[in-house]
């Protein structure tokens, strides 16, 4: 008995318990749903067979169906545009703000704190606010643009198929900037001041310092922020639900929202699973880059 408590307290028993708990959690809440989702993507599933495993296997039919739908190509490119533009703009604006608040001026930390407001708000609330800003007939943005004479006719931000996707991207950029700014601020604070001092003694200007010191020293942070940004952007669902529901006519639809529509609005659960399997593949690739970039950070 004593031996047992001893192994538990300071021996291998305790380690085992910890590992089993972590592993058990991963298996039950991550591995099982992933495998279950993969299984469903090869089956014909509707709402009424959701709880039983005994469903007809249809091979690759679901994949063929998803890839042959006329809207698939458009939704794919929308997803690429949404992720690419969102991450790029979030990174640029976030980095610029981080650099700005790195300067020593009164209330810098205060102001930086205020920027977090956007991050704290639930995306659904952000979506509701943006939908008032972007509304076509009575929107705040159209009113402002008309007042200052930029436009004469209202722009239908949410219902014009040519602009709807960009409206969601604008809202998403606003939502993601604070996260980028904070992570990059942390990275900037970690760069020793004397490196800059030495550089300026050697006569390097601000721009030169940025490209020769700041950027290389921030490599790990930038890698992490980009990978996390891609993953968060691929998870962005609430803004679509609140702003455009992927419409009009899929003009602003993306894979993550489409997957939900297929599974829970059309009850074509097998097809919804296919879309999420395709997305998982992509996220794994991004996660791989993220792991690589943080490993570099640990080694250095």
């Amino acid at each position: 008995m004593l031996k047992f408590t001893n192994t538990f307290r300071d021996g291998i028993g305790f380690d085992t318990v910890l590992v089993v708990m972590a592993l058990g959690y991963l298996v039950v809440f991550s591995a099982y749903p992933l495998a279950y989702n993969l299984l469903m993507s090869f089956q014909s599933v509707d709402l009424f067979t959701l709880t039983s495993f005994d469903r007809p296997f249809v091979g690759l039919d679901n994949y063929r169906e998803v890839l042959s739908r006329p809207e698939t190509a458009m939704i794919f490119w929308n997803t690429v545009k949404f992720v690419g533009l969102s991450v790029l703009a979030q990174l640029c604006v976030g980095f610029a703000l981080a650099l700005f608040f790195q300067l020593d001026f009164p209330a810098a930390t205060w102001l930086r704190g205020l920027f977090l407001a956007g991050w704290i708000m639930p995306a659904l609330v952000v979506g509701a606010v943006w939908s008032w800003v972007l509304a076509g007939d009575f929107g705040v943005l159209n009113h402002m643009l008309r007042q200052i004479g930029v436009i004469r006719e209202n722009i239908f931000w949410l219902s014009d198929p040519d602009v709807a996707l960009y409206s969601v991207i604008i809202a998403n950029i606003w939502l993601g900037v604070p996260f980028n700014m904070i992570l990059l601020s942390v990275g900037l604070a970690g760069i020793p001041k004397d490196v800059y001092e030495a550089a300026s003694m050697d006569g390097a200007g601000r721009v030169q310092q940025f490209f020769t010191i700041t950027l290389p020293m921030m490599r790990a942070q930038l890698g992490a922020v980009i990978s996390l940004g891609v993953i968060f952007t691929l998870q962005q669902f609430d803004l679509f639900a609140a702003l455009t529901q992927g419409g009009p006519s899929n003009a602003s639809n993306v894979f993550q929202y489409w997957s939900w529509q297929l599974a829970f609005q059309n009850y074509e659960i097998g097809l919804g699973s296919v879309v999420s399997v395709l997305m998982i593949g992509f996220v794994i690739a991004v996660a791989f880059i993220y792991v690589r970039s943080t490993r570099y950070e640990q080694e250095s």
């Binding site: 959701l50 239908f156 949410l158 219902s159 455009t244 529901q245 006519s249 059309n266």
Partner: protein, 402 residues
Amino acid sequence: MGKTMIGAMAVGAATFATAAPAQQTVLDLWTIDDPGEYHYVLAEEYMAAHPDVQINVRTVQFGDMVNDLARAMATGDAPDITYIDNPEVAMFAQRGLLLDLGPQIAASDIVHTDDIFPGPLASVSLDGGIYGLPRGANTIAVYYNADMFRAAGLDLDAPPRTWDAFYDAAKTLTRPDDNIYGLAFSAIATEEGTFQFLPWIQMTGADFDDVNTEGAVRALTLWKRFIDEGIASRDTLIRSQWDSTGTFNAGSAAMAISGPWELPRMRGEADFDVRAFALPVPQEGAPRASALGEGDNVILKSTDQPDAAFAFLEFMYAQMDRVWNEFGYLPASDVTVKDPQYPEIYAVFEDSMRAARNRGPSANWPQISQAIQGAIQQALTGQATPEEALARAQDRIDRIIR
């Protein structure tokens, strides 16, 4: 004080439940209503009249009902009675999950299928069986701002009856400089879009399984003109009926297509003379059609109390003459409503109800509806011509039905 009261009531209820006689019948009822609405009110009344019956009412969000029911049926947790939106009855009935009420109705003194209007009756009928009783119905018509009609020189007492006249009136009423649209309706990519569009093509002889027709193309082209010519807002593509009618109430649109559920809010918000007329037809003499909304009370096949459940269904059905004034739906059967509220508008809706047609029936209704919404949106955004959009939709519908 409020809290103590609730606490005391809860304790009282618990004591009552344990002290109740053994033969107490317990029925579980799922609804989309909130307390104070139809199912809650009628369950209270029924329990007061039948102390031996206990009805447990549970609210499920409208959008979650099908999901939650399917899950509950799979795990054996289904209620005895539930409310289902009418196009979805066929989906559950075809899978054998609903009780066929035919034999019970045949023996009933209260329910006579001949009294039920054809639209609502079709929505609960499948292969000779009757799988539910409508709790009421609703449909759509055109509300119009009589003040704007007068100002535009249109005849108040002869509202447009054909599509051409309707288009002309809407065009005349449109005043872009004052930010006033001639018409507000909903072409949103949800069930509401299908609900608003289907009657337009049904009037031309098309239907949910036959959308690639000349008449349907004409209907969709008319809708496209409303958007392209600025008669209705581009936001029609993303506005629900409730939001669209909100712009009518605010005086930003001269006409609005929607249903009777708008009336209470309209009375508070619209500070002008509101009237209504039935949906216009393609040309004089063409058959009429209107949408059929609202849902049905159904009994699940898994119930162990089919007789008690049917008795409660009969009771609810017998209250049909109260639904307009108390709950805001139209009667789904031939009853006389005494002193209806908003009598002129009631007359328009009651008349439209006779032309109301079912969506479906099809066991795959959600997918079919989605194909129709896709066609509407592709045509209105200009991604496809009405002909192409409807041909594509027909292609998908054929594959779904097959």
